[in-house]
Amino acid sequence: MKKNPNTVSFTLNGERKTFITEPNEKLLALLRREGYKGTKFGCGQGTCGACTVLMDGRAIYSCLLFAMQAEGRDVRTIESVGTHEKPSEFQQELIDGAAVQCGFCIPGMIMSAEALMKAEDVYPDDVVREYMDGNLCRCTGYEKIWGALRRVLDRREEGREQSSESRSDPKA
């Protein structure tokens, strides 16, 4: 049970944290004031996806959720994905594929893709679109973002096929 009603405790990027909050504070506001600036405010209406974070592995709009609702959950933000020295696979593809224009939509896109890769084993186009549909981009026309993501997903699918082939080899 919580001792102080005005705090919220959750796992943030792998670390257990406790924050002081107000009942009406949104998760996005809390994250940003605590320095997690990679999560963006684009609409505050749950319509653009710039504020996407993972909660227990699922992509959610942090602008719609109250901070209190994160109690006990596992929250991950863009700050947990990649570093200057070692960007994630998708980040690398976005960078190399000229898919980052203004970049404001990109952290949200990456978090939605993380959710997709966590939850699914195969990635048909319509499933991918389903996961990514909540993230608006006004700069790129999506072509290069889509291409970058597809390359990552195709490699994963291939890798999985190969590893399942090699697993089934001995039986053959």
Binding site: C48, E79, I95, A98, C102, G103, F104
Partner: protein, 777 residues
């Protein structure tokens, strides 16, 4: 010109990695709001709920006493200085018709009073305590109402005026008028075998950058105001904030960090004066960001324009006359009104050869949202009318519309009387077209879409009918004799360079493009460039990111600055090698003797020049203005499928070709083309402002639909190279032109599918269905 001038380029014409891509992909703090300190006050504005009203009384005393409130601004406690919010050159070709706060409100979303408080909740609670009494005035909701005799006067304040000598009659709601004639239009109409007279309407739209407008200000220890803001025009911003607050320019520093998209919307000073004054009054950092609803209602929009086209054509395809009359609804304030309507003519009429041209543009105030700069800037609106007319003319004379365009489009070495006649607030500049690969754009695009399989609509039957449409386009590259860009570049010990530019990367990739240009000139690698843009204390002046000017204009400034630094590098390198300068060349970040036997690295040259002998800073500086505005060209094609039962239009494929001269960074050029095209597609098919009594009723992404990943049709961007001699390494502009295509392309494709000609868009199922029902075979 050599066979292929681009063959030896090492940095430009290569898709090098965007200089800020890594930090943005990692989500590192980069944008305005990311820099707000924890103790920043939150700013909120009380907006007018009425389209047209006098503020009879306003009482902020209760609000001032609310918890957490640090200051309230309203017309009673701010300077009353008339100005213009449009970030243009000075003096502006737009009326001074705006006050920081006024005693009158002119549209739903106009400023009434602002609060700065510790938290957003406290600011909102305080707004609710502000007492306002309005006297409602009769609103004006259309151009026709605005023009009518005895129409309510929207700007009756005595201070309203234009700072340059151009027509402005606020008593008639007339913001501006402009026109020109070439040849004899009436005679041309008489010579025609067929004549046309049609009226087209284009709708309101918002740019919808995913980062809404946002500004942050604080007072520095020195007492100066530092404004970090999401702007396309940092230098104009500094000037206009100084003017609005009655402060010297010296007192203000404007910093532009990374910008989350602008597309023209942020060529406007909408928040900076307020955060600056709050910072001064409270001594605290102040952050103001629009929410999405505010971004729609109060943010700038695309001017809705009515375009009447009269045209005449002979049976052989000679266009004997083109007349274009435009009525531009600029909403409650007049910024960009004149220049947008001028571009309806100047960016469209030169495309086709015609001896007899008439152009007339008028701009009116209404009590609706305010128009501003939006990618395409008038050309978008007028090309819908022009390119629909081209298809109608082709049909009348029984010619393939593609052929009619091939027959008439402007080519290298040709001019147009329009170039000289129409400028921005003054006459234009005579010009002949240098590079033009439009012919190749047309053939390549036609092959890609399968133009050959296009058939007449009368042969089509069944519920789903396919159609193919096309349009040709042009734009400009910078505003000649008006725009100026500056750059400076200095060498560091390790052979890296600081490239400081006033040019404003708003997400387009211009920092990268300018770095490539400088690196090419300096014979070094792009990743040796540390680019800094733009900061009024630190970087040279630049007019900012608009008018498709950055690559062409600021790019040439960067090239010249690099050439200046290169001269110094060569001088010191030669000194170190003990050779005359003319025996040395720069190559691969070294100065070497012509025979290649002796060489010294830029890094060693820098160390020598900084620490060893005859010390000085190797630093190049240059400015650039342009003599012409070379048009990029494009041919767009689409195949669509119309559901004749529902009126739904499905885009099967879209082809967007572009001649932007040398593509400095081909991948980024493709990105501009794809993004601009999709924005145009979304505008043509779904985007619109819905109003009730002047109030926009669909101010969210739920109700104002912009395309998401699920909606995207296959878009094929094709870059067709040309070489513009006056541009840096042959480059012209790329960013704006592509948004102009989709509306006329779809209009023509819908006609080709169904025989229904729509003179207004968005092509919603309802409109398309009604038009189909009206078709008689």
């Amino acid at each position: 010109m050599t066979a292929n001038p681009t063959a030896n380029f090492k940095q430009v014409n290569h898709s090098v990695r965007k200089v800020d891509a890594v930090q943005l992909a990692l989500g590192k703090p980069s944008y305005v709001a990311d820099f707000a300190p924890r103790d920043a006050l939150v700013v909120k504005m009380l907006w007018s709920p009425h389209p047209h009203a006098k503020i009879v009384s306003l009482d902020v005393s209760a609000a001032e006493k609310m918890p957490g409130v640090k200051a309230v601004l309203w017309h009673g406690n701010v300077p009353r200085i008339v100005h213009c919010t449009a970030g243009q050159g000075f003096p502006e070709p737009s009326p001074y018709d705006t006050f920081m706060f006024d005693t009158k409100v002119r549209f739903v979303g106009d400023r009434v009073a602002a609060v700065a408080a510790e938290t957003e909740e406290q600011a909102l609670a305080a707004l609710a305590k502000i007492q306002v009494k309005y006297e409602l005035l009769k609103p004006v909701f259309s151009i026709d109402e605005a023009m009518a005799d005895g129409a309510p006067i929207i700007h009756d304040e005595p201070e309203a005026h234009v700072p340059i000598p151009i027509p402005y009659e606020p008593k008639k709601n007339l913001v501006a008028k402009v026109g020109c004639e070439a040849g004899d239009f009436e005679k041309g109409m008489k010579e025609a075998d067929f004549t046309f007279d049609d009226v087209y309407e284009t709708p309101y739209a918002q740019h919808c950058p995913i980062e809404p407008y946002v500004s942050l200000a604080h007072v520095d220890s020195s007492g100066r105001i530092f404004i970090t803001t999401s702007t396309q025009v940092p230098f104009h911003c500094r000037r206009i904030v100084a003017q609005t607050l009655g402060l010297p320019v010296q007192k203000i520093r404007v910093i532009k960090p990374r910008i989350g998209g602008g597309f023209g919307s942020k060529q406007e000073i909408l928040l900076e004066d307020v955060v600056a004054l709050f910072a001064l009054r409270t001594g605290r950092p102040c952050l103001w960001q629009f929410n999405r609803e505010e971004n729609f209602r109060t943010g700038r929009t695309r001017h809705p324009i009515r375009v009447r086209i009269r045209a005449g054509i002979k049976k052989d395809g000679t266009i004997t006359a083109i007349g274009m009359d435009c009525w531009n609804n600029t909403g409650a304030y007049g910024g960009h009104g004149l220049t947008v309507v001028s571009c309806c003519g100047s960016k469209v009429l030169p495309l086709y050869r015609c001896d007899n041209i008439h152009f007339d543009g008028k701009v009116y105030y209404t009590n609706l949202p305010v128009g501003g700069a939006y990618r395409g800037f008038g050309a978008t609106q007028a090309f819908f009318a022009m390119e629909s007319t081209m298809d109608k003319m082709a049909e009348a004379i029984g010619m393939d519309p593609l052929k009619l365009r091939q027959l008439n489009h402007i080519k290298s070495g040709e001019g147009s009387p329009i170039f000289a006649a129409l400028g921005e607030g003054k006459e234009g500049v005579p010009m002949t077209v240098g590079s033009c690969a439009l012919g190749e754009c047309i053939t390549k695009g036609a092959a890609e879409i399968g133009w050959d399989k296009r058939t007449d609509w009368r042969a089509k039957t069944g519920r789903y009918r396919r159609g193919i449409g096309m349009a040709c386009l042009m734009q400009g590259s910078s505003i000649p004799h008006i725009d100026m860009g500056g750059a400076s570049i200095k060498l560091n010990e390790d052979g890296s360079f600081n490239l400081l530019v006033g040019a404003t990367d708003l997400g387009t990739g211009s920092d990268t493009v300018l770095a490539q240009i400088a690196a090419e000139e300096l014979c070094t690698a792009t990743d040796k460039m540390i680019v800094y843009s733009s900061d009024t204390d630190m970087t040279p002046f630049d007019v900012g990111a608009y008018a498709s000017s950055t690559t062409y204009l600021s790019g040439e400034a960067a090239r010249k600055a690099a050439a200046d630094a290169k001269r110094q590098i060569l001088h010191t390198g030669a000194e170190m090698l003990n050779l005359p300068e003319d025996q040395c060349v720069c190559k691969d970040a070294h100065v070497q003797s012509k025979d290649g036997k002796k060489s010294v690295s830029y890094s060693d040259i820098s160390c020598y020049s900084l620490y060893s002998k005859n010390q000085y800073q190797i630093i190049g500086t240059a400015s650039h203005i342009t003599q012409k505005s070379p048009p990029p060209f494009a041919a767009h094609f689409a195949e669509i499928e119309v559901d004749t039962w529902t009126g739904n239009v499905k885009v099967l494929k879209y082809v967007s070709t572009i001649d932007c001269g040398t593509a400095i960074n081909p991948a980024l050029c493709e990105g501009q083309t794809e993004g601009g095209t999709l924005n145009g597609i979304s505008y043509a098919l779904t985007e619109q402002y819905l109003f009730r009594n002047g109030r926009m009723t669909n101010a969210s992404f739920t109700d104002y639909h912009i395309f998401s990943m699920r909606d995207v049709p296959p878009i094929k961007a094709i870059i067709v190279p040309s070489f513009e001699d006056t541009g840096p390494f042959g480059a012209k502009s790329v960013s704006e032109i592509c948004i102009n295509g989709p509306a006329p392309v779809f209009g023509n494709a819908i006609y080709n599918a169904t025989g229904a000609r729509l003179n207004e868009f968005p092509f919603t199922p309802e409109k398309v269905l009604n038009a189909i029902r009206a078709v008689k075979k």
